[in-house]
Symmetry: C2
Subunit: 202 residues, 2 copies
C-alpha cells in the first residue's frame, strides 16, 4: 500500500554530506552475494576489520543478524526470501544514509530482489559477486549444510533445491573459489577505497 | 516461526566495546514516545545535531524514514503499528550494536510494543516520554492533523480515535507541553551525556 497522506517529510537537520566529510568516506552498501560457503561472512568480517582499523564507520550485516530479529517472522520460501532481502536492504539504506558503509553478506539468490535494492538505493548500492562454483562450495561445506541438503534434510537450499541467479552486471566479481582469502580481501579493500573513500580515507 | 536450525552464530570480529571506545560513547536507543505534535521530531533533530557536533555517532529515525521504506507495506491498524514498531526497534538495535546512538522519534502508542523493544534491547533501550497533554498538542496542530482527525478525515489517529498508552516507568519524562523547546533539548542532551558518554564524550 502507499503511505498515508498525512506523512510529510520534514527538514532533516543533518545532511549526509556533512556526515561523510566527518567520516572520510561515503555512506553506502557493499552487497556481497554468492552461494553458501562462497566466503561471504568471512570476507565481510575481514573487510569490516580492515576498514574499522582505517577509522571508517563500517558495519557488517549477515543473515545471522536479522534472522533472529528484524526478519524472525520469515522463512525460506521465495516470497519470504524476497521480503527478507527487502527489509535488509531498507535497513542497510537507513544506515548508509546515516553515513555508514554497510557490508551486507547475504546469499540473496534472486536477481529481482537485489535489483530492487539497487532501485531504492541508487548509487549507494554496490553489488559484489563472490563467484565460487557450486562444486567448490559443496566441497568446502564447513557446516555440513550441502550434505544435509543433498540428503533432503534442508528444504529450498540454494544451489541444491533452490536456484541461484548470479548478478548480470555487478560492480565487482571476486573469484572466491580459486583465489586465496587474503587476495580476495585485498580486492575488496581496494574496491571500497576506490568507490567510497573521500580524500584518501582508507 | 522460529529461525531455521541451520543458522548458527559465527564469531563476529568486531565487538561493540571496541566501537564504543573509539566513538567515546555507548551504542543505544533513545526512544522518544509521545502524541503527534508533542515535539518528537523537533527534539530528535535538535539532539542529533548537538550530539553530532560533539562528534558522536548519532542517527535520528522517525516515521518518515521508515514508512516509505522498511515499513512501506504497513498501515495504521494496531497490528500494523505493532509490526512497524517491532521492525524499527530491530533496525535500531542493529545500529546500536554497531555503536550508534539512535534517536528514535515515534508516537508508538502501545505500551506492549515499546516493552517488546526493551525486552529485545535490554539496557540499550532508554524510553523518553514527551509528556505534552492532548489539549496542548491539539492546540499546536502544526500540520492540521488533529483538525482533520476530529472531522473524521484520518482513521485511527492517536489521541482522537486511537489510544495512547503513556510509559509507566520511562527513563526520563520531558514536559514538552509546558517547557520551552530549548529547555527540553537541554534535558535530553544532559540525559544522553549521563547515560551514554564514556569518559566525557559529550
Amino acid at each position: 500500500m502507499t503511505p498515508s497522506p498525512h506523512i510529510t517529510r520534514p527538514d532533516r537537520h543533518l545532511a549526509l554530506p556533512e556526515r561523510e566529510r566527518r567520516n572520510g568516506h561515503r555512506g553506502g552498501i557493499l552487497w556481497l552475494t554468492g552461494l553458501s560457503a562462497s566466503g561471504k561472512s568471512t570476507l565481510a568480517a575481514g573487510l569490516e576489520r580492515r576498514l574499522f582499523d582505517a577509522r571508517w564507520q563500517v558495519l557488517m550485516l549477515d543473515g545471522d543478524d536479522v534472522r533472529h530479529g528484524l526478519c524472525a517472522d520469515l522463512g525460506f520460501s521465495p516470497g519470504d526470501r524476497a521480503e527478507n532481502i527487502r527489509r535488509v536492504g531498507e535497513a542497510a539504506l537507513l544506515m548508509a544514509k546515516g553515513g555508514t558503509l554497510v557490508v551486507a553478506a547475504f546469499i540473496s539468490p534472486y536477481r529481482a530482489d537485489r535489483d530492487r535494492i539497487r532501485a531504492q538505493a541508487g548509487g549507494m548500492f554496490h553489488e559484489i559477486h563472490l563467484a565460487a562454483d557450486l562444486a567448490v562450495c559443496e566441497r568446502r561445506d564447513p557446516k555440513g549444510l550441502y550434505a544435509r541438503a543433498r540428503a533432503g534434510g534442508i528444504a529450498e537450499f540454494t544451489g541444491i533445491s533452490a536456484p541461484y541467479e548470479p548478478p548480470l552486471a555487478p560492480e565487482l566479481v571476486v573469484e572466491t573459489g580459486h583465489s586465496p582469502v587474503a587476495d580476495c580481501l585485498e580486492a575488496l579493500v581496494r574496491y571500497a577505497g576506490t568507490a567510497f573513500a573521500i580524500d584518501g580515507g582508507a
